[in-house]
Amino acid sequence: MILWRWIRAFLLFWVDYIFGDDWTVAAVIGVALLATWGLVQADVPAWWLLPLAVLGATVRSLHAAVMRERR
């Protein structure tokens, strides 16, 4: 029982660590990492993709958070 509680707490910690209060940002980062890998494999410059993806996801998430404050 204690072991199960520890495993559950451990998993919940990582879920919160990665996804936080907006899972869409982590999802965009995951997709951007995959796309970056694809570009590197295709020998296309990929350095611009991650920063732009993070910025785009952050702007969208901030806008959604401000809109939620309205409710």
Partner: protein, 249 residues
């Protein structure tokens, strides 16, 4: 003693040590020095075990997958902090949390595992890179001792500078610090994840500088943008808020 190996190792490891110290200081000033130092100590213990077990075979350790995993995790967490920092600064202003005033809503009352993991990952990844550099430079010239002294000098000097900068960093208001630490973690996360995927960064390691400038500039613009969005929705709040004097009834 090979002076050339000592100096080359010192210079090559300094950038890794700066990254390591920056993360530990960032966790220390924004969350807690206790967890920052415990995380760093745990990272060093893991590192000592890895070095003890692998020895010169460290050269064969594939660093790219480690960089990718650590970078991706740091990117996910750093971007959350950056987002939260922007929201809070736009709401409370830059000067909130001066001195000992606590503004951290996220630090739990018990042991802060998040701060511990951040510090642990930074020290173990960067320490591993330092160890690989020492083995590579030292083994190539048959001067492991000189390489180790060069790396140790780098750790001592940069570590001392990090400790000395603590008081300076602690003077920055906590809200502003949260935002800048968010930008710092996002910068390292982006860089390491990209390195893990073999991204060819313009400027090599200097990409850390322009990535940091990019995220800080974006954060400053977004603080203004979020304030404007809030002002944009304010009239509706005003309409919905009942008049204190019951006017209009």
């Amino acid at each position: 003693m090979s002076t050339s190996v000592l100096v080359s190792t010192f210079l090559a490891t300094t950038i890794e040590v700066i990254e390591m110290v920056a993360i530990v200081v960032a966790v220390g000033v924004t969350r807690s020095w206790r967890v920052a130092l415990l995380g760093a100590a745990a990272g060093l213990v893991l590192l000592a075990v890895v070095i003890g077990v692998l020895g010169t075979a460290l050269q064969g350790v594939p660093l790219k997958p480690v960089r990718l995993v650590v970078g991706a995790l740091l990117l996910a967490f750093g971007s959350q902090w950056l987002r939260k920092g922007i929201l809070l600064v736009s709401r409370d202003g830059w000067a909130t949390g001066i001195g000992e005033e606590s503004v951290d809503d996220d630090v739990p009352p018990g042991f802060d595992w998040t701060g511990f993991v951040l510090s642990f990952k930074g020290v173990s990844l960067e320490g591993l890179e330092v160890a690989v550099i020492v083995v590579a430079f030292g083994a190539a010239s048959d001067a492991i001792g000189s390489a180790a002294i060069g790396a140790a000098a780098s750790v001592i000097i940069v570590g001392a500078l990090g400790l000395a900068s603590y008081r300076l960093v602690a003077r920055i208001p906590r809200r502003a610090l949260q935002l800048f630490v968010g930008a710092l973690l996002t910068t390292f996360g982006t860089f390491w994840a990209g390195e893990g995927l073999s991204v060819d960064w313009p400027g090599g390691d200097l990409a850390l500088v322009w990535l940091g400038a990019f995220y800080v500039a974006a954060a400053l613009l977004l603080v203004s943008a979020v304030s404007a969005w809030r002002r944009g929705i304010a009239p509706r709040h005003e309409i919905e808020r009942p008049s204190p004097a019951g006017a209009g009834r």
